[in-house]
Each structure stands twice: as structure tokens, then as C-alpha cells.
Symmetry: C2
Subunit: 902 residues, 2 copies
């Protein structure tokens, strides 16, 4: 915690001198660093200054320590004021105005800005510095009394809401009352007198709620606003957002105090947001929207429907030309698509903010490819910085199988903005909390709102897709949903959303809570009923981009697949082999489960062998199909893993069926089910423990593998089987199972008169196995980390039972993440690292991979790359994600190495 | 595997030269090393030689590799014969006889002998070297034809049985037939002619079963016998014994070939076994028994009832005097009580074998104290070598609460030899296999046999006690039971044991299978019905001995106790504090379970707090009682650990009761029970996870602890509470819980106007906690290893579910031990060691203990001492055992250090 007066806490920008740089995000926040960068680059930025994130940490404490102080308990340290005052003097000089002065009034905005962009999550106050006297002065100086009082009423309500927690609705009701009195239908229709009335009413509301008069002192206003920004860092909304987004390790938010410019001073003024390229498609064209005679909040809030940026060409051609030129400069400078807030005051253009633009997966890939082709970035830069693994994931999201069909059937009840592509199907809910609770009980939901706000983020996250009746492409709903790659149809004004009756309607068709709804985020269509989703396909720019990706990664990517179909899908997605073929899923098919049950219910080895003989040809067929699908690529087959009771039914009716089918007494079936019951099946009789107590199972599976391998090999197909022994804890277990596998292999090769090269290895999923990896490596040709089980045992978390405490743990910061989503580097990671080191020391050529769910998680992949695994294995649809994450890990590794060398 | 001809494989003894020493047990086996030692010491040992254990390893392979070759597949390597022949020449010279020579016949015994004594487990052949010609020659040379043919018939049957696997019963039937024909009631009554007939019949049996004639060549006999000994090393009996006794790491058995001496050459001959002190009581007096005109096998087998050694004074006074003198020399030489086999041949005494005598716990302690007092050993030697932890354990075994009572009631149905002290109560079974299977289904059993044999060891182990109708104090049953400290009444000739009807009877009272029986191994009484057992008490020699023990150990010993009564018991046994006070057991009492259930069933925190308020005074009372019982000693209290569903009933009837008692709808109770159900409760919502999701539970428990501490402290009693947070995996969990504890402590101290010193620490039982022990140690003042859970998670074994595979694992040698009995040093031990190192590095004064079941296991204690823990904590009755094990570990540590210095 930095608090000495000798350190600089306030950084100026655009006042002639600019202190910051874009690399100082940790200290100045993204917004402050970018404003500094923009000023340095000579872009038209209103002057201002940034109070550092370290001050936030000092003043507000950090969330992890639980020191979540309320706004009113905070105070600006004495040593900070001189720095603020000095900076303010320079801002005053730069714009020839004075803060708090009625004749040459300087108004400022106070905004938050952390190192990572958190749209809508932090609080902002505009028009700060107004009081009755200054307002009159502003009216005189600008000659626009209406504008001055409009600014004043905005300021009072915003300050009341954001800084003092006065309910916004009260201000809105008061405004509505005045509008009604004045017979005005919009805010624009209110004249100066009405606005004076509004200000007066607002001040009364303020006093009623806070117990104090509205602060007339601009300095007090500034103090309170700065503290409100700091306090908002630890507000529930911000914390929830960071939790969902997994944002951690930040000091706090910076505070940006900047001279106000006004987009609402008349028809030659306006405000808007601009993407330098289309963030939905990636098309190289200015993209965004603006409102004439408005402040920025009007655009983002979605309360007025803005015009597309192309129309600016008609309204203000010079400004449009300036924006086009600036877009070029911004992209060259920042090497990325920019998301810009701009304001035009009386024909003069200001850029208020610029940041890397959030975009859809499709846009990200297209932009990356285009920027490389345009020579703006290198391929490495494009792969490292311009496409996130989540973007690729999003591209692979399903779409509707039959768009033509629902159109023909007339089930499209409305069309809104295609705010975030992809298709979503779920049951309708109208409140974010409902989305969360329905999701928690296993329902898929679509969240329908008039508009969304930061309070809704958790519910939005829980939903399959989001539909709003208001707001534009840059509305809260649209921005947040795009960031997550979650389908969103926004601003669907044809629909009436009624929270009270819990319905949405286009006037003809009404959809109620719990009804199925399908959203096409790519077209903006809202479709009644439950549409069928279809798989995504990889093509075009993505293929091009993934080609670069594959050239940059070291880590190989395999897939977890149990069927020839999955294997083929994964191969199409670029899988370089199968890292985990679970053989037990094969036993659950109708035709086989009976034989499996016979095996389990058999009284002795003879009975088991008879049942296994029925399973042998089925397994052989499965393996042969997978070998064919993976021709020339390795296929790692795991021997039977789950406890046997998973194959037997628990309920009496099914037990009777089993008894009939097997010709056993039902009592005997019941007894066997009871005998197989386990207190903690996760830690019970499963994995290689089965193969050791019932060697005949291992024998059958090994035979099926080698017979299939010989068969497919005889067809001229290259077969590379790897036999994997699960749940090994001691080398003796592996020795036992390996002996059986080698024995069966030799027998089958002798029978077939041919040989197939193969490997025998083991999973490392029991903590003990990691600890004794050196001894195990002497017998294993490969390790595959089963990080699901390794996480369960290392943390003592049963994956099926964590819902009762892990969410609370994440909420309280006891866990950074759900350790089943992203690997626990500090704990489980130690065992992985140790096993790699010991294993490779004992057997230098040891092949290392991972086949847990973490194999598809980008952050985990970065860790696995760091540890030096040879491959990760993940579900087919995550393969492209993993490929990109692997490349990014390799590029980061290069950077780290270079830095290390420098 | 040593097999070069340049290495010595045969070691001579008693042939003028003696090659071996007692320290060479690994190579020569215990018997061979001792014979060498005895010869070196000038004791009267028949000459012979020992073939090393390395030859056994070479010839028979070892069990772990699964190379369990049958006798007939083995062969004596060519390089061995010259060594055997050379040694045999020296033996021949020493006794002036020649192997295979009919005029001066040399007969030999061939015996096994591994480095660890395994009575009865390995095979022995006597009188080897006899054939028809040699037998006639022996008859001539000794002038005792009957003796010669008796030796021959013994040899043929023993060779047939042991070497060739001919069923012993066949020989016995043939012998019985001859006896019947001859009208003889005992073997002794058979004359030469009858014995010739026996030999002839035996040879026929031999040929029938083996398909070969009985080998007339002494050299072939020798070869086959040596190989049979080697093969028996991997026989099922030997392997089972090693498994039960946890004997591992041996190369194999040595083979001792020794000139025969005969106890059956007439009335001036005899054979017997001698303990230099009484192995049941430790009394300093020769103890044992002998048979006149008999071979050693007759004594051990228990087929003839021998005379007590005191009677030898009458039969052969000179021999008795020699034995007394030899006993002194043996004890001085071996610094331990010796178990000697001796034979008198025509008035001349030979010692065939000596070894440390197995003894009861009472005897061991008394002997240790006496030998120190007699100046034969130092106190350190006594503690290190003369008492095993199991001996102490045995002393603490229960006895019958009311011996007078059952005597008055006339329920003593018989009195046998008090072969192994202690009291046992169980249901009668008649077969070893039944003992095993009844035990497996949870029954306590008493095994009743006419006599026991090595095949019965597993069943004996499973039984609470053993009763035999035949055999003496050194019979198989007696020796094995004493070794285990298991009560045994032997040679109870009053009882008729009938295997067919499964009854035992004294002619008046008949007891059947499944009936309850009580055995008093200290008095030899057999009592009908189910007697009540009473706790043991520590006193006399033991207290004296334990005084020495405590002076030699570094490791402190605490106890696991949940009640003032247990705490007091443990303190009487020498506990130096409580290492684990489980608070949950307190909640199960009738008066409290309802409040606990109310707490669990409450809808919100308010409801939970109301229920907890009812539990607070109860917990406070418990803690106060424990603090008083442990005045001046530390008391480690673990916060609530088990999952909440353990406190709720699963069956409908009890759920209805709970509903009535709490005034809730039964449906709601059922729902709550269902909601709390977990797939793997071991890895679920328990431990500190409860305290974090329900901080009010931790608050209540902390309040109870500190209120009790203040209360008892105010009485002038020194209170040393240590609050232990269970199941911590991340330091954040500990931080969270510690904050609550510290907070409550301050509040209570403020309320009471007093302070009590205390510590806050954590259990290390989740593997992750061990891995991040450095960060946890920054917050924890102590670690207590919960090795039960640590073992479950590190190995992935649910303690409740291992019965389906761990026994097979131990059987197959995949596991050396049940890891819940003796700590898995290689795996779990690594985590313990690592956590100690990292924890102490982060906090030098970190206090370290262990409170799992392993805290009472001597081998585990040796490991914990080595790792440098401060204390172990175990159940009250294990405390003295742990104290001794700790001292022995310390003494071994000294020896190791000394060796390291040398």
C-alpha cells in the first residue's frame, strides 16, 4: 500500500504536459492510460488528470481483506489535495475556465477506470462543479440557459444516485411529474423553467434522502465524487462482475477527472460511440451510433434510439471525415480495433475515451486476419493479442439447424438487433434472479428484459441468451453478452415486456414465463418454441487464422472421444489424436448393458468370462471404428474406470427387469446391488482396482484393443494404440495390469500373425501417483494427468457435492476460481509439476499429457504449456480453443524467454 | 540375486571351524546364525552347515515376483554341490560317521530358518540319510533295531509329507492300521517287526502318490529335502504367516543341515524345549517340557503330553544341572531370554536351537526389569530390545470384570493351560475358515480346535481367543497366540471337541457352534456364556519400566479423547495432553441431538442461532470437564467436522419423530435430508467448509471453548486450549475461521474480565494443505496431521469401501500393509515430511503433531519420530504403546546417529 507524499498520485493529460503512458494501466487504469496515450499522440482529448489506483487501494482497501468500506466512511488523504489542486490549476489554464467560478465555469466529469475494462460496472458523475451560481454563470457564458439547467438537473440526479445512493427512480418520477405538468413527451421538450423546477425537486429529494442539503461547494462535490468512485470498486456489482469475469490481482480503480465537453449544446453538438471496425462482423467500416444534442449517457443507457454512424456523414460531414481519419490513426497507434467515445461540442470533435473494442468471435478472427493483411500487425501479434480463446469458442457455438423452417412456419414473432451472434434456446424468465435460480435447478433459460443493468450480470451469465426490448448495439445487454459470446437480441422494440404479468408480446402472440423461446443472435430473430441447435463448422478466416496458430504452438492438442463420430468431429476441428477414449460409455448402450450386468452379477470368474465374451466383439468393433477415424494418429484408450454399481439399476422395477433378462432371482440382483453400494464411490472399487480384482476384464479389453488394431492395420491403416491404466496409486498396480496387457498383446499378435506397435501408460490422478511418479515412470511409457480426479482428491472436493460450498468460497475470495474449471495451480499444479519432473527424471522420453476438463481451459493450458506437457486433450468442440490457447502460451513463453535473456 | 561361485554359500558350524556369527541372520537365517553363535560360544551343538538365504532367492525366486515355483521344478545349482560336499565331509569327520554309509551311518536333519522366526511355518525333515541298508546298519551300530526302524518310518512319512506332498493322513491311517493289527495303543507299543511293516506300507503309499519308488539314495534325499525347504518359503502357509505378521524384505530361508542326535534311543534319552525364564509370567525359573525317549517333533506337535522341565531334576539330574548352567550362559550371551530345543542322547545333552523366547506382555516387562536389575542389560537395551509395543498393548488388554461371579455360578466347564493371558469373549466356531468368515461379517468368535496347525493361523488371528483340547504350553496354538497377545487356553483335555456335530462338551455341558464362550487365558478357565470384560490397569513392573521409557523418548504422547472420563483414563496411562477432542460426538447425546437437528433444519441463520444457543451450555460443560481432567496439559479441540446429514435420520419413522419433536412438517424434514445427501460425503460439505458457510457454528463452539476456559481457569486450574480448524485446504479458509475464533475470544475475555492463553492451528489432512503448508503455517500456530483423511485422499481410498480390494492388494503384495493401519511412508509420508519442512521453514516454532489412528501404530510412530513431529495422539489404551514406540524410535535414532558419526 503506497501512501507516501513523495510518490506521484496524480497524472495529468492534455494540459500541454502529459505524465502517463498506455503501459501504465496498472497505475492509471485502462481509461486513464489511454487518455494519456491519446494525448501523447496528439488526439483531441479534453484535458484532465488521473488519480492512481494505488490511492484507491489506500483509501478503499481491497475486497479480499473484507474491508469493504461504505462511501461515507472514506476520506481523501491530506497529502493528496495539493496534487489535485495543482493539476486542476493546469486544466483550468488549458481550457481558460475555472472550477467553481460562475463567470468562466469549468465543469468536470469524474469517472472510474481500472486496469481491465469493466463496462458499466463503475460509477461516473458528469457536469460536476455546478451549483446555482455556476449554473446561472454557465447560462450567461454559453447563452443557452436551457442547456445549463438541463446539465444541472442531470448533475443533481447523477450525483444523488451515484454518490449518495438516492434511488434513481425517485428522480425519474419527479421528472415524469414535471413532464406531465408541462405536457412534455420527452426530456427535450422541457424548457428552462421546467428544468429549474426539476432541479428544485431533485434537491428536495436529495435532502429528504441524505438528510443534508445538496452540496453547493464544487470542491466538496469533487471530493465526494472521487470517493464514490473508489467505494464503487468494492460495490457488490463490481465484485460480482470481477467474479464472473475472473478478474483478479488489481489494486483498484483510478479516478479520471476531465474537463467536460458538451454534446448537448444544440444541433451542432452531439455524442456517440464508434468502433473503428464492425465489432459483430469485423467488416472494415466505421461502426457505431450517435445522438445529436445529447450527452454520452444517453447513448449508452439506450433511453433514446441513436442513429447509425453512417448518418453522421449527412448531419456533420466534417466531423465524419475527422472520425474516419482518426480511426486510421487509432488503429495504427494501438494495433487493434478501437472503441471510442466522442463528443462534438458546437462542431468541434473531442475523443473522450478509447479502448480495444470488444467484438464477436467472427469479428475477432476477421479483424486479426485483416490487420495482418493490412500490415498493421504481425501474425504473432494477431495470434497473441487479437483473438481470445473464447472468441474461437464462440465461433463454434451452435446455430439453428433449420432457419428456413421456423420462418416458413411463421414462428418469428419479432426481429431485434443482432447484438451477439449464436443461437440460444431456453425457457423464458423475466428477472435476473430467476435466471440464476432456474439455472441452478437445471433449467435452460432465456432472460427477457426491457433493458439490462449491471445488477443483472449474474442472471445474464446464467441464461442461454438475452433478449431486450430497448437499447442499441452498444447497450449494456449487447456489450456484456458479446463479451461472453452469449447470443443476444437487443432493442427489439416490437415486443412489449411486462414484468407484472411476466409476459412478452408482439400484440398477437404472447409468451409467458416458462415458455420455450429461441433466439437467433446472428439474425436478431426471436422465435417461439424450442428450436433444434446444430453444430458449428470451422471455415474461412478461422481456418486461415488457425493455420497461423498451429505454426506457433508447441503443445499438441488431442481430444476426448469415445465414438468414431466424435473422433471424426474432433479431427475436423484439428485434433491430433485421442487423449482419452473412455471405454465404459460403450457399455451403456442397450445391446451391451445386459452383458455388462451379467458380468457384474456373475457368481464367479467363469460366469464373468462368459459375459465378457459377449462384450468382446462389441468393444472390438468400437475400437476398430475409432482407429479408422484416427488413422495415423495416436489413440489413448483407458481401461474400465467407473465402479461396477454404476452399471446396475437402483430402483426395484429396473432390478426386476434385470432379473428377468438374466434369469436370476430378483433378490439376488438386489443383494448384489446392495453389496456393491459404496459410501464414497469416488474413492472406492474402481479404476485399475477393478482390473486387479477382476483381471479377466482387463484381459477382455486388451484383447478387444489388439484384435481391432490388427484388423484395422491389416486394412493398411496406420494404428497407434496407447493403453492407459486408470487410477494407479502404486507402481505395483501398473506392473500388474501392464503384465496382462503385454501378455494379451503377444497372444493376439501370435494368433493374427502380425504385430502392431503400441504403448502402455497410466493416468496420474491419485495424489500418491504424482508423489511416486519416479517409480511409476519406470513402468509407464506415458502419463496422462486426470486433473478432474486429481483435483477432487488433492482438494478433497467431490465434484458432485461442491455446490453447497464452492460458490460461497468463490464469493468470499477463499477460492479464486472453481478449481474444476481452471486448474488450481498452487495446489494441484504442484503435484502436476512434481510428477512431470520426477517422471521425466526417471524416464527421459516420458510422454506427458492431460485429459481432464482443464485440457480445454485456456488459463489451465497456459500452465500445462509452462510445465512442459506434450499435449492437452479436450472435448471436440474445445479443440480449436485449445490450439489457440497453446499458441498464445508459446508466444508468451517466447516473450518471457526474451525478457529473461535481456 | 547372488549366484556366483566365488561367493560362499555354505557356512559350517560345530565342526571345529565355525564360519557364521549371530549377526549374519539375513544370510544364515535366525536358526543358522544362532547355531553358529552357539558353536562359537562353545555350546554343545551337533555339527552341521547352513546353506544361505541367497541360494533360496536364487533357486526359488521371491514371492513378490510371483515366481512361486513348485518343489519339483526347482534344482540345486551345480556350483553349490562342491560346497555342500566339502561341508558334509567335515561333519562326517566331526561325528566319526559317514552320510549314506551303512556301517557308520550319519543321519542329518534338514531345517528351514529365515531371518525372522516363523514357528511351524517352514518344513523340516529329520533322520535323513536312511534307506534299508543304512537302517539295518544303524540297528547294528546302536544295537537298537526298534529305534532304527522307528527312525526310518518317521523319516519316510516326513519325507513323503513335507518333500513330496503325500497326505499325512494316509501315513497316519496306515500306522493306525498296524497299531490295530498289533493291538498297540501307542506308537511306543509297536515292536521292530511292526515298524518294518509300517515302513513297508509307507513306501507303498509313497509310490502310489508320487509314482516313484522311495529314493534310496541319501544324496537324492538330501537334494529333494533342501529344495523342499526352499519351496516351502513360497508356500501358502508361509506367505499367509508373513502377511499376518507383516514380515517383509527377506531374501528367503536358509537351510540348516545338521547331524542328527536322537532323543528316542531309550530311557536315558529325551527331547524337550526350554525357556530360560517363564514366558507367561517372566518368573526367573527354567520353564518348558520334555518327553523321554522321543524326538523333538513329539513335543511341538502336542501329540504326547510332555512333562514339565522341573521333573527332569528327578529323571536326569545331571542333565537338569547342565541345562540350568547353560541357561545362565545363554542369557548372558544373548542378553535375552532364550527358547532352546534340546535333545539328550544316551545321557548326553545337545542344544539343537536357541532363539529369543516369545513371551507374554507381562513376562516381557518383568524380564526386562529383572535383566536390568541383574546387570545383564542396560536400561536402554531393555527398552530397545526386550519389550515390544505389542507386549505393552497386551498388558492393557481387558480381563473379566467378575471372575468370582462366574465361579460361584458354576459356569467354569473346564480348566486348561493358561497358555496366553487375557480374557476373550466370542461365539464358538470350530474351523479356522469359519473364524475368518464370521469375523468378516462382524461377529466376535472364539476358535475351538483339538489342536491347531499352521493352516489355522488366519483363523486364529480372526478369533478373540483360542481354545484347544490337546497340546502343551509350547504347542502351536500356545506359541502363536502368545506372540499375538491373544488369549489362549490350551491342552484342555477335559473337553471333547467334535468337529462333525460342531460341539464341545465336558460330558455334562455341551456348547455348540454360535454359542457364547468366555476364555480366561490368565487362569486357563473356560466359561460358558458372555462374560463382561473390564479395563486393564497399569501397575508394578510396567510402571517401573514405563518410567525408563519416558526418560528415553523425545516424542510426546497425547490422546484422542472426547469426554472427561476418557481424558482421565488416558492421563492415567500417561497421556501428556489431548491431541484430538472431537466435538461432534458431544452432539449425538440424546439431550443434544434435537437441538443439533433444529439447527440443521432451520431455514435461516436466525433459526440456526436459536438452536445453537441451546447447544452452547452443553458444549461449555463438556469442555470445562475436559479442561479439569487435563489440568496443566494442552487440550486440542477440533471444530465441527462431519457433514450435517450425519446428524439426521434416513428412515421414515425417525424422520417423523424428528418432525414431531421440532414441530416441522415431515415432508420438510425429508426434503432437508434429501438436500443434504451427498454422493461422496467424505469429500463433501464438512470440516471448516461448514464453519465457513455457517460461521455461527464456529462462533458458538469458540464461545463454548473460551467460556469454559475462563470458568475453569477461575477455579485456579491451568487451562491450555488449542483450537483446531479441520479440513483446511487453503490458507484463506484458516484465515476466515481464525478471525472468528480470535474475535469470539476477545469478546468472551472482555465479558469475563479475564484472559486465557490459547493457540489456533489446523489439521493437515487434505493433500493440498500439505502442499501449501508454508502459506498455512503463516496463520497456524500448530499443525496436527489427520492421517486418516490424508491417507484416504492421497491414495484415493474410502476407508469404508476398501474391503473389496485392499485385502486382495495386500495378498498380491501390491500394498505392503493396510495403509490405514500403518502409514504409507512412501506416499502419504512424503506429504507429511514435506508439510513439516515447509511449515517449519515458514514458522520456526510451529508445533507439529498427528492425531490419526496411526498415532498408536509403532511402525508409524517410528516414522513420525524420524520426521520430527513433537507429539503423536492416540486412543487412551494405546498411549503406553505409543510411549514405548516413541522411546524405541529415539533409541534407534541414537544408534543411527552413532553409526552415522562412525
Amino acid at each position: 500500500m503506497v501512501a507516501e507524499a513523495s510518490v506521484r498520485h496524480v497524472y495529468r493529460f492534455g494540459v500541454g504536459t502529459t505524465d502517463g503512458r498506455s503501459s501504465m494501466k496498472d497505475l492509471l487504469g485502462g481509461k486513464g492510460a489511454n487518455l494519456a496515450e491519446m494525448a501523447q499522440a496528439g488526439l483531441p482529448v479534453p484535458p484532465g488528470f488521473t488519480i492512481t489506483t494505488e490511492v484507491c487501494a489506500h483509501v478503499a482497501g481491497d475486497a479480499a481483506s473484507g474491508a469493504n468500506k461504505g462511501n461515507t466512511e472514506l476520506a481523501i488523504p491530506n497529502w493528496l489535495w495539493p496534487e489535485i489542486d495543482a493539476a486542476m490549476l493546469e486544466v483550468e489554464a488549458a481550457v481558460d475556465a475555472k472550477f467553481g467560478d460562475a463567470t468562466r465555469p469549468l465543469l468536470v466529469s469524474v469517472r472510474s477506470g481500472a486496469a481491465v475494462s469493466m463496462p458499466g460496472m463503475m460509477d461516473t458523475v458528469l457536469n460536476l462543479g455546478l451549483n446555482d451560481a455556476v449554473c446561472e454563470g454557465l447560462a450567461v457564458r454559453t447563452g443557452r440557459a436551457r442547456f445549463a439547467w438541463d446539465a444541472y438537473r442531470r448533475f443533481v440526479s447523477m450525483f444523488g444516485d451515484v454518490v449518495m445512493g438516492v434511488p434513481r427512480a425517485e428522480f425519474e418520477h419527479a421528472l415524469d411529474a414535471v413532464k406531465k405538468d408541462a405536457g412534455a413527451s420527452t426530456d427535450q421538450d422541457l424548457d428552462e423553467k421546467a428544468l429549474r423546477d426539476v432541479v428544485s425537486r431533485f434537491k428536495t429529494i436529495y435532502r429528504t434522502h441524505t438528510g443534508h442539503a445538496f452540496p453547493e461547494s464544487p470542491r466538496e462535490q469533487l471530493e465526494r465524487a472521487i470517493l464514490a468512485v473508489f467505494a464503487s470498486w468494492n460495490g457488490d456489482r463490481a465484485k460480482k462482475y470481477r467474479e464472473v469475469q475472473k478478474i483478479r490481482g488489481l489494486k483498484g480503480t483510478a479516478v479520471n477527472v476531465q474537463a467536460m465537453v458538451f454534446g448537448n449544446t444544440g444541433p451542432r453538438s452531439g455524442t456517440g460511440v464508434l468502433f473503428t471496425r464492425n465489432p459483430a462482423t469485423g467488416e472494415k467500416a466505421l461502426y457505431g451510433e450517435y445522438l445529436v444534442d445529447a450527452q454520452g449517457e444517453d447513448v449508452v443507457a439506450g433511453t433514446r434510439t441513436p442513429s447509425p454512424i453512417a448518418k453522421l456523414h449527412e448531419d456533420m460531414p466534417e466531423v465524419h471525415a475527422q472520425l474516419s481519419a482518426l480511426a486510421q490513426r487509432l488503429e495504427s497507434h494501438f494495433k487493434n480495433v478501437q472503441d471510442v467515445e466522442f463528443t462534438v461540442q458546437d462542431g468541434r470533435l473531442y475523443l473522450l475515451q478509447t479502448r480495444h473494442g470488444k467484438r464477436t468471435g467472427a469479428a475477432a478472427v476477421r479483424i486479426a486476419v485483416d490487420l495482418v493483411n493490412e500490415g498493421l500487425v504481425t501474425r504473432e501479434e494477431a495470434v497473441a493479442n487479437l483473438v481470445e480463446p473464447a472468441h474461437v469458442d464462440q465461433l463454434l457455438h451452435p446455430h439453428f439447424a433449420d432457419e428456413v423452417g421456423y420462418r416458413k412456419q411463421g414462428r418469428v414473432i419479432a426481429k431485434g438487433l443482432a447484438a451477439s451472434p449464436g443461437a440460444a434456446v431456453g425457457r423464458v424468465v423475466f428477472h435476473a434472479e430467476d435466471a440464476e435460480s432456474w439455472k441452478a435447478r437445471g433449467e435452460k433459460v432465456v432472460l427477457v428484459r426491457m433493458e439490462t443493468s449491471p445488477e443483472d450480470v449474474a442472471g445474464m451469465h446464467a441464461a442461454e441468451g438475452v433478449l431486450t426490448s430497448r437499447g442499441g448495439m452498444t447497450s449494456h445487454a449487447a456489450v456484456v453478452a458479446r463479451g461472453w459470446g452469449k447470443p443476444c437480441v437487443a432493442g427489439c422494440g416490437d415486443l412489449i415486456v411486462d414484468y407484472r404479468t411476466k409476459t412478452l408480446s408482439n400484440g398477437r402472440v404472447t409468451v409467458g414465463e416458462g415458455d420455450w423461446l429461441s433466439l437467433n443472435g446472428t439474425t436478431g430473430e426471436v422465435v417461439t418454441g424450442k428450436e433444434t441447435l446444430a453444430d458449428a463448422v470451422v471455415s474461412g478466416s478461422l481456418e486461415h487464422f488457425m493455420g497461423w496458430v498451429d505454426g506457433m504452438r508447441v503443445l499438441r492438442v488431442r481430444t476426448n472421444a469415445d465414438t468414431p463420430k466424435d473422433a471424426a468431429t474432433a479431427r475436423a476441428f484439428g485434433a491430433e489424436g485421442i487423449g482419452l477414449c473412455r471405454t465404459e460409455h460403450m457399455f451403456f448402450e442397450d445391446s451391451r448393458i445386459l452383458a455388462m450386468r451379467r458380468m457384474i452379477l456373475a457368481d464367479d470368474e467363469k460366469g464373468r468370462r462368459a459375459a465378457l465374451a459377449l462384450l468382446l466383439p462389441e468393444q472390438r468393433k468400437d475400437f476398430a471404428g475409432i482407429f479408422r477415424a484416427m488413422a495415423g494418429l495416436p489413440v489413448t484408450i483407458r481401461l474400465l474406470d467407473p465402479p461396477l454399481h454404476e452399471f446396475l439399476p437402483n430402483d426395484a422395477v429396473q432390478q426386476e427387469q434385470v432379473a428377468r433378462a438374466t434369469g436370476m432371482r430378483v433378490e439376488r440382483v438386489r443383494q448384489r446391488v446392495n453389496a456393491l453400494h459404496e459410501s464414497n464411490p469416488m474413492l472406492g472399487h474402481r479404476g485399475c482396482r477393478l482390473g486387479i480384482t477382476h483381471p479377466e476384464i482387463t484381459e477382455m479389453q486388451a484383447r478387444a484393443i489388439f484384435e481391432a488394431a490388427c484388423e484395422v492395420s491389416a486394412e493398411g491403416v496406420e494404428v497407434l494404440p496407447e493403453v492407459m491404466v486408470p487410477l494407479v496409486g502404486t507402481v505395483a498396480e501398473l506392473v500388474h495390469q501392464k503384465a496382462i496387457v503385454l501378455d494379451v498383446a503377444e497372444t493376439v499378435f501370435a494368433e493374427k500373425g502380425t504385430r502392431v506397435a503400441f504403448h502402455v501408460g497410466t493416468m496420474i490422478e491419485v495424489p500418491r501417483a504424482a508423489l511416486v511418479a519416479d517409480t511409476i515412470a519406470r513402468e509407464a511409457e506415458f502419463f496422462s494427468f486426470g486433473t478432474n480426479d486429481l483435483t477432487q482428491m488433492t482438494l478433497g472436493y467431490s465434484r458432485d457435492d461442491i455446490a453447497s460450498f464452492v460458490p460461497r468460497y468463490v464469493e468470499k475470495g477463499i477460492l479464486g476460481d472453481d478449481p474444476f474449471q481452471s486448474i488450481d495451480v498452487e495446489g494441484v499444479g504442484q503435484l502436476v509439476r512434481l510428477a512431470c519432473e520426477r517422471g521425466r527424471a526417471a524416464r527421459p522420453g516420458l510422454h506427458l499429457g492431460i485429459c481432464g476438463e482443464h485440457g480445454g481451459d485456456p488459463r489451465s493450458i497456459a500452465f500445462f504449456a509452462d510445465v512442459g506437457l506434450d499435449y492437452v486433450s479436450c472435448s471436440p468442440f474445445r479443440v480449436p480453443v485449445a490450439r489457440l490457447a497453446a499458441a498464445q502460451a508459446a508466444l508468451r513463453g517466447k516473450v518471457n524467454t526474451k525478457q529473461g535473456e535481456a
